[in-house]
């Protein structure tokens, strides 16, 4: 072991500046991968924490003796939702709510910091008047996100707010009828937060798969560069075991350094990531850290995966010492790859349409299919690259296209690795552009407030509302029962903007104890979810593009490094640098255009069953993706141009 490590260290150190540059490239690739992996894991963790933080507000009936009564409603101020938890103790032993030092006493309100701030800044008749006096501030354990508006109102058990039944919200988890409880719920319970977690899982698959492809490419990159030297080691009599050990040790050492750098990188970006607003607000930065075990797991798993990938890449060298020195005609890409891809497409075409009606199973099946689609694209990619290569070679009249085409044909897998990131991003972009709902129009908000009450009591409630609203610009109407399915017979129309609406809501407090007034405009949970899907989609896209461009840049640079000797020789013999550079560009851009477009279309195909409308927004997103993608690749490959120049200016190339 000691000799292996010693040898490894010397190989790393003795690689010269170019060897060092190669290791740096690998480490950088691993760092970016690790950072993004931590982001994916951390975001899942954060959604989990949110779901848990929300659980206590949803009461669960006590099996034995109850110690408290809990109810939930959702109020609104300035169009923002306020979660209102009503609590009353039943004798002694009431459980302490999360984020509070004790159970609230009757007649006091505990508010989240953001709500407390609003209560102080808005006139009392618009917000503060709805609640008993403030007694304290809720801690973060009670809150889903830092900007959340939450009020905990202490009452007596016989308070009208805690005795009446509350209207059903069809499982959205926005209201809960007063329930006798023995403890507050823990763990994720609300269907809405479950939905978010599911969507986050979909997003993770969309991000992590390209990430793995990228990571694999990075790992193989080290091996490719070491091939020659390791083959030499074999020739001088190193055992296969030693060669494997040296390679793995080198890859793992480099990857470990990269992983740690990646974690640091992620730490630097957490404050920015925490600002992304999803589910009504930004994040607690701490929640975005995946927890010590998961963090350690990622930091260990990444080098291990890179090591495994390195071993796989090394098989050739170990099997035959001459395996790398001699390059044979590559085996043809078999058409079975294309068939596999077609089968996946057809299978999805058959079941895709029915997925959206299948609830959770549907999501699971979709996740499986997304995974399969990635596998399929990865399978068919090299085959398509080889096909492009054959066409290019067949039609080439000048040296540039011939060089590019031969290179594609020579190692379709390597050429695919250069564009895989962008192609997979194309898939993600296509998939997400159909899930890009048109934004709800806030200007369309009206001042309609509905009071849900049984038709029999409608007239009496309307009279009390009239009393309360005297002097406010509001008209009250009683709708005839039977019109419309919802039981909202008392409709109040407030003119004069949001401030007047909030004044009216405050004035109406207690007219229907325990029930908050609802307006159709306030019930925007559907809109909000769609908006969140859009935010999530854009985030995933941004991440994918980051992966894709980094990957293109790194593979491009390493392709130049790997071929530096040939390039230098060609240059010596008078080959213009432009020809080499143009061939290099074509061998990336042509497959990119074909495969990027193809994956985009595949993504559209997979999203078609769930299309939320393909408006101008979707088209723009798609267009932006195409532009950013092409620009990213062109930019990334331009970066290796100086490298090409550098490796070809050495007038006397030597084997290294």
């Amino acid at each position: 072991m000691g000799t292996v490590l010693d040898l490894t260290w010397r190989l790393l150190r003795g690689g010269g500046r170019r060897g060092m540059l190669g290791s740096l490239l690998t480490a950088a690739a691993v760092a970016v991968s690790t950072g993004l992996l931590l982001f994916a894991v951390g975001a899942n963790h954060a959604f989990g924490v949110r779901a848990d933080a929300d659980a206590w507000r949803h009461p669960k009936a006590a099996a034995g003796a109850a110690t408290a009564v809990e109810a939930l409603s959702t109020d609104h101020v300035r169009g923002r939702a306020v979660a209102v938890v009503d609590l009353a103790a039943l004798g002694g032993g009431a459980p302490t709510p999360p984020g509070m030092p004790r159970f609230p006493r009757p007649g006091e309100t505990w508010a989240s910091p953001e709500l407390a701030k609003l209560m102080r800044s808005l006139p009392a008749d618009q917000l503060a008047g709805r609640f008993p006096p403030l007694a304290g501030t809720l801690g973060r354990d009670a809150l889903v996100h830092p900007g959340e508006l939450v009020a905990v109102v202490g009452r007596t058990a016989d308070d009208p707010a805690l005795t009446g039944k509350r209207p059903d919200d069809f499982g959205l988890g926005l209201t809960a009828t007063p329930t006798r409880i023995a403890a507050f719920q823990t763990g994720a319970v609300s269907p809405l937060s479950e939905t978010y977690r599911m969507l986050m899982l979909v997003a993770s698959v969309l991000m992590v798969v390209p990430l793995l492809v990228f990571g694999g490419a990075a790992a193989r990159l080290t091996v490719a560069r070491r091939d020659q030297r390791l083959a030499a080691l074999r020739l001088v009599g190193a055992t296969p075991g030693q060669v494997v050990a040296v390679t793995v040790a080198e890859a793992v050492l480099t990857a470990a350094a990269g992983a740690v750098a990646g974690a640091a990188l992620y730490g630097l970006t957490v404050p920015a990531v925490a600002r992304i607003e999803i589910g009504g607000g930004a994040w607690y930065p701490a929640d975005l850290w995946p927890g010590p075990q998961a963090l350690l797991g990622v930091l260990l798993a990444v080098p291990v995966l890179v090591g495994i990938s390195a071993v796989v890449g090394l098989r050739r060298v170990v099997v035959s010492p001459l395996g790398v020195a001699r390059r044979e005609t590559p085996p043809r890409m078999r058409a079975v790859r294309a068939v596999a891809f077609a089968v996946i497409l057809v299978a999805f075409g058959a079941v895709g349409g029915s997925l959206s009606g299948m609830g959770r199973t549907g999501i699971t099946v979709l996740l499986v299919f997304l995974g399969l689609a990635f596998v399929g694209i990865n399978l068919v990619g090299p085959w398509v690259v080889a096909l492009i290569g054959r066409v290019a070679v067949g039609t080439a009249r000048g040296p540039v296209r011939l060089l590019a085409g031969r290179r594609l044909l020579d190692d379709p897998r390597a050429a695919w690795r250069t564009v895989a990131g962008i192609a997979l991003t194309g898939f993600v972009a296509g998939f997400l552009s159909l899930l890009n709902p048109p934004a709800g129009d806030p200007a369309a908000r009206t001042g309609r407030i509905g009071l849900s009450v049984s038709p029999a009591r409608a007239e009496a409630v309307a009279d009390r509302a009239r009393e309360r609203l005297a002097g406010l610009p509001a008209t009250i109407r009683v709708e005839r029962p039977g019109r419309g399915a919802d039981d909202v017979p008392v409709v109040i129309t407030v003119t004069g903007g949001p401030a007047e609406v909030d004044r009216a809501r405050t004035a109406l407090t207690g007219v229907l104890p325990g029930r908050t007034t609802a307006t159709s405009d306030d019930d925007r949970s559907g809109d909000a979810l769609l908006a969140d899907v859009r935010t999530g989609a854009l985030t995933v896209l941004a991440v994918s593009f980051l992966i894709a461009t980094t990957s293109a840049g790194i593979t491009g640079a390493s392709a130049v490094l790997d071929r530096r000797q040939t390039y230098a020789m060609l240059r010596l013999a008078g080959t213009p640098l432009e020809v080499l550079d143009r061939a290099r560009r074509q061998e990336t851009l042509i497959p990119l255009a074909v495969l990027g477009g193809g994956s985009l279309a595949t993504g559209l195909f997979f999203a078609a069953p769930f299309a939320l409308g393909f408006g101008v927004g979707g088209a723009l997103t798609l267009l932006a993706c195409v532009v950013v993608g092409v620009a990213g690749i062109v930019g990334a490959s331009a970066l290796s141009r100086p490298l090409l120049r550098a490796v070809t200016t050495d007038p006397a190339p030597r084997p290294d």
């Binding site: 390059r327 044979e328 005609t329 000048g398 011939l402 213009p576």
Partner: protein
Amino acid sequence: MTEVVLSGTGLVKRFGATVALDGVDLSVGRGEALAIMGPSGSGKSTLLHCLAGIMKPDAGEVRLLGQRVDALGERRRSELRRTRFGFVFQFGQLLPELPADENVALPLMLGGTPRREAVRAARVWFGPLGLGGIESRRPGELSGGQAQRVAIARALVTRPAVVFADEPTGALDQNTGHETMRLLVEATKHNGASLVVVTHDVDVANWCDRRVEVRDGRLVDPARAEV
């Protein structure tokens, strides 16, 4: 001596404190094969690079058919190397992904010859060099000697004025090396091109018309240089 094709006068080249060439005068006649010998590190490769327009000497001048080479810009020198010179290096000069015939055709294509024509012209070289039947093999599928012969074909295909070879058989065993060298000398002669070859092998040098010896960046009389 016959007409001078290539000449270097007063060539000096330094790398930092190292003086690789210290005032070398050398000329090559038309169709002449010239061997450059000398111990390792004496400046042979540097001399070849200066003559071939790969490097600019710090002092002195290089002329091809009376025309200054060293004063040209990189672009013009690059073009000159492509059109008037041919190169055979020790190894690694063939593009691994191109079949042998396309490797040979590449310089023609770079000069603007359409691919079909270039490949046809390239294949003409395979028979005489004993490469018949391996036209569409890739360099990885060739033996070292075969690969060097393909490289020779590539160096000659543009009908250059001078072929430069830096230890072209250094990576081959002695028999293959000698055979390859004979082919190189004969083929260049046959095409009326001059040959400048750096070699450690006295036998190889003997096949050439003339040899010079480099010691510490200076030419010495071969007769006196025998150790």
